[in-house]
Amino acid sequence: MNFFLSYIILAEIFAIVALSTNFLVGVIGIFSVSQAAIMGVGAYAYAIAVMAGIPFPLALLLAITLCALLNVATSLPSLRLEGDYFVVTSFGLQIVATAVFMNWSAVTGGTSGIAGIPAPRFSGLSFDEPENFVFLSTFALGLASAGYWLLMRSSYGRTLHAIRLDELAAVAAGRHVLQMKLGISAVSGAYAGLGGALYAIFMSFIDPSSFEIHVSVLILTMLVVGGARTLAGSILGPFIILAVPQMLTLLALPPHLIGPLRSLAFGVILVSFMLWLPKGLAGRKI
């Protein structure tokens, strides 16, 4: 296994999920801490569909559509609940999702997860190996980035910013705020679904721990480090955050310390950026 390529691929997958989170947290101002759960649903949906014999493009489409719908449903409370209250709701959704992944054993395989998820093949070319898969993930990130860029520079993107900045003024201008929020939630969900499906393909094994609350927090940390609302920020963040565990392995620490130290490092990074560099490396303040 090529470690460097794996790192690139995972960072690219998480960049797609970071873009998904950016749409919600950065652009429209819905502070969601459950994007890993949506990503998880994408991963499970893809895995289950593919293992049931559904061809790759259809399984991918299914995962994306399901996540888009689910994200719209889970964002609905934010239309009534502001800021902190929605964080609590979203936290609850994350816990529920993890519980479902763990306990709906007949479908999700419970705590042992789903193994042996087949990689797609195109005319003899298999995406089993990182050397091939990297093209797929780079292509997907390219598409996702283009979508983000187009959306942000459109009239729709400007209106989304306006809603975040002053919802009441946007209403006074006659904008259909509800419809616009649901639209961006759907796009955000689709991105998380794409990220989840790619994750399932690449790892070929998924279990509930891959989509727990700490992964949601990790994704938010990526966004804070990279910087909210910019394309560069969402791509930079995952590449930096995923490099941290690799860096720690260079320190020749006893293996039992690596886990706790990694969590500590993420925590310190998150707090430091919030305090001293709230705009992140290439973005704006959340």
Binding site: L150, S154, T159, A162, D166, A169, A172, H176
Partner: protein
């Protein structure tokens, strides 16, 4: 005769406090009506009731003969009533022209499908909207600041931008909440000119204004409010000469 906007016996209570008490007045097309009265008279509540931000407890509001009481805020904007806010509420991280683009009545291109899957069409819509927004900025004299950020323009220009935003909604009736407060002498003259031009172009305006000199300058009609009631309405000469109203306004007595 059908008035452009007619407010009839509108009453609004807030937990036992009667903010509006059977308010009635009307606006006619092309006229500037100044809403005057001491703080707490209910001027902003009138704005909120007309624009659907609040639902009156009783009474009716009619636009061109059509009842709009209880209609949702967005619908009322689409019907042609636009408002500005006392505390501006501009989109501060957006450029001047984007503030206008976001408020345009034209809602096309405001969906993710067009934005992502039809990029060329989306760009065409944006270009068209930019052109439209520039024309609106010209009407208030801000076209040279189009690409500045809101925080980079003067307070007077920010207040003009508020008017441009309301114009963008294609309002036929404009409710302006204290458009001249806090302005320098030059900015004030500028604002008065803009209000006059709008009125000359057929716009119906309801303006909350405290400065009696400006009221004399711009008003075709005055509606004087106190403690939620309309105490007087009529041409400026008549209303402003009334001793009892002046006493209320300047705190001389009751």
């Amino acid at each position: 005769m059908v008035h452009m906007l007619q407010v009839e016996n509108v009453t609004k209570n807030f937990l036992g406090l009667r903010a509006l008490d059977a308010c009635s007045f009307s606006l006619d097309q092309g006229e500037v009506t100044c809403l005057v009265g001491p703080n707490g008279a209910g001027k902003t509540t009138v704005f909120d009731c007309i624009t659907g931000f609040l639902n009156p407890d009783a009474g009716t509001i009619m636009l061109n003969g059509e009842t709009i009481t209880g209609m949702n805020r967005r619908k009322i904007v689409q019907k042609g009533i636009g408002r500005s806010f006392q505390n501006l509420r501009l989109f501060e991280e957006l450029s001047v022209i984007d503030n206008v683009i976001v408020c345009l009545a034209d809602d096309s291109g405001n969906d993710p499908i067009t934005a992502i899957l039809r990029p060329f069409h989306s760009q065409k819509i944006l270009d068209r909207k930019r052109g439209e927004a520039l024309k609106i900025l010209e009407r208030v004299g801000l076209e040279h600041k189009a690409d500045h950020f809101v925080t980079q323009i003067s307070f007077g220009q920010q207040k003009l931008l508020c008017i441009a935003r309301v114009l963008a909604t294609q309002a036929k009736v404009m409710l302006l909440d204290e458009p001249t407060s806090g302005l320098s002498a030059t900015a004030l003259k500028n604002m008065v000119d803009v209000i006059r031009q709008l009125s000359a172009a057929g716009m119906t305006l309801l303006v909350v204004e405290h400065n009696t000199k400006i009221v004399r300058d711009i008003a075709d009609k005055i509606v004087f409010m106190h403690q939620g009631r309309v105490l007087a309405s009529g041409v400026p000469g008549d209303v402003l000469e009334r001793r009892d109203l002046a006493d209320i306004y300047f705190g001389g007595g009751n």
